[in-house]
Symmetry: C3
Subunit: 205 residues, 3 copies
């Protein structure tokens, strides 16, 4: 329980800081940076909660709000040195999408949806904050263009449902499927994998 | 009943393929294409269901999900030859907006809203998927810029309400107002009609 | 009661016209202009109502719809002369965000949310319509880039909560916090204030 809370907060920090960095890159003013940080951190969960018609989580539990404010302050003050933290940030972010995926899947199951929809909800929880961040900054969302990112979430969510059919206890299922997301993502970045291109060379230009 | 299901599925196919084509045009990766196809096909209905606080349809009925996956596969495999299908696609799309308009109007009536709001809900159901598709691909939504598209939906929805005041049975009202959407759209494309420009020539440039 | 209604309508007019002007600037067709005007005027309230899971206001009360149609007609007809109205528009807009902020805060309180969330809801009600307007027109939202706009709403909402702890009657609290929004905004524009830049000169370029 405690562990999940810690990981959840680390994930929120990573997502919020990714928002701050994107917003500062576009030279937004402090208010703009706050909004982008917020949207990046809670956007995915908000969409999920609206779609399953459940109360929006960050509106009820202020921990998220405080964590986002703290991350914003930290990122703005140490913006010159965020390069040093790049690896930690990447790790938080990866752990973050793993946890967010599982939270989304479990909320979907609790609300009685079909596994395919739950996989979509998990992926959405993990990825949609980044999509909104990029739309607000007027970019094509990065996850549509490169990197195995959403794919890692989908694979992890599928593993979750496969294991549900076994007798493995739920705690282990959570750990294994979370670890799957993290492993797929790390391997993809380490080996510079991306989804196979569907465009042949002669189609490029 | 059967007929409406068939038309609904044809409409979903047309919208999904329009998403695939837009996304491939922007050279998105396979995951990006999937999302854009999905959003183009179910975005309008999702917004409608959220606004009227009704369960989101594609989350309960997986037919849409399967149809979208199938369309995606088809469009990616035959992408070189989609030119041959352009006319069929255009027809599906036109039938699709006609049906989506009526579904939206009827859902609005069932939820007890004023006719004006129902017309808006019908038009939104038909058009908002395309708007989201264009926003995610970082374009100004095409329906804001050219073609009588939304206008055809509005006209069809208005015809629906006019006929409701007569003694014409509901089945015929559905058919006539759907046919109105299709006719307005076909005539507009055939005669290259667009809404009268409100910009005078001397205002251009 | 009457006064609030009048101010609410003036605010809706100002927001709708801001949408018309932005849309005409992008040379959208009449339907596109209608949508942007609509979104600018009711977008903030719609997001608020969806987040707190309350019925969406403009779908129940058609006054907004009529006012937006009227503003659209007016703005299109007199588009050459809107320059003369620029000051009145700016004033309506400023009064509009003041009122929208308070409406948002009060809806949040009525739904039982924490003051921080209520401040966010108030600011969102006042500012999100403009954000959506800019996203649909493919711009980075203006409030992320310049002017003390959202900040005025935040300050006003905070004043509201501070005064709630005193014995000042609610009517006066509404007036004082609304006046705060207006004053901050007017002073900021008059003295060309903006939020302190967090970018040092040597970081620019």
């Amino acid at each position: 329980m405690k562990l999940i809370l810690v990981i959840d907060i680390l994930g929120t920090i990573a997502f919020a800081i990714s928002g701050v960095l994107t917003a500062m890159n576009k030279r937004l003013d402090p208010f703009g940076i706050l909004i982008i940080a917020f949207v990046a951190a809670v956007g995915g969960g908000t969409l999920r909660d609206i779609l399953i018609n459940s109360p929006v989580e960050w509106m009820l539990n202020l921990t998220y709000v405080y964590v986002i404010f703290g991350s914003l302050l930290f990122a703005v003050i140490f913006r010159k040195r965020l390069g040093y933290f790049r690896k930690s940030l990447f790790l938080f972010d990866t752990i973050g999408i793993a946890l967010y995926t599982i939270v989304g899947v479990e909320k979907g199951i609790a609300a009685g949806f079909h596994p395919i929809i739950c996989v979509a909800l998990g992926t959405m929880t993990a990825c949609f904050g980044g999509v909104l961040r990029d739309i607000l900054c007027n970019d094509i969302p990065i996850i549509f263009r490169k990197e195995i990112y959403a794919t890692a979430c989908i694979v992890g969510a599928l593993v979750y449902f496969l294991l549900l059919k076994t007798r493995i206890p739920l705690d282990f299922i959570v750990i294994i499927s979370g670890a799957t997301v993290i492993t797929v993502r790390l391997l993809a970045v380490y080996f510079k994998l991306s989804l196979p291109s569907i465009y042949r060379n002669d189609e490029l230009e």
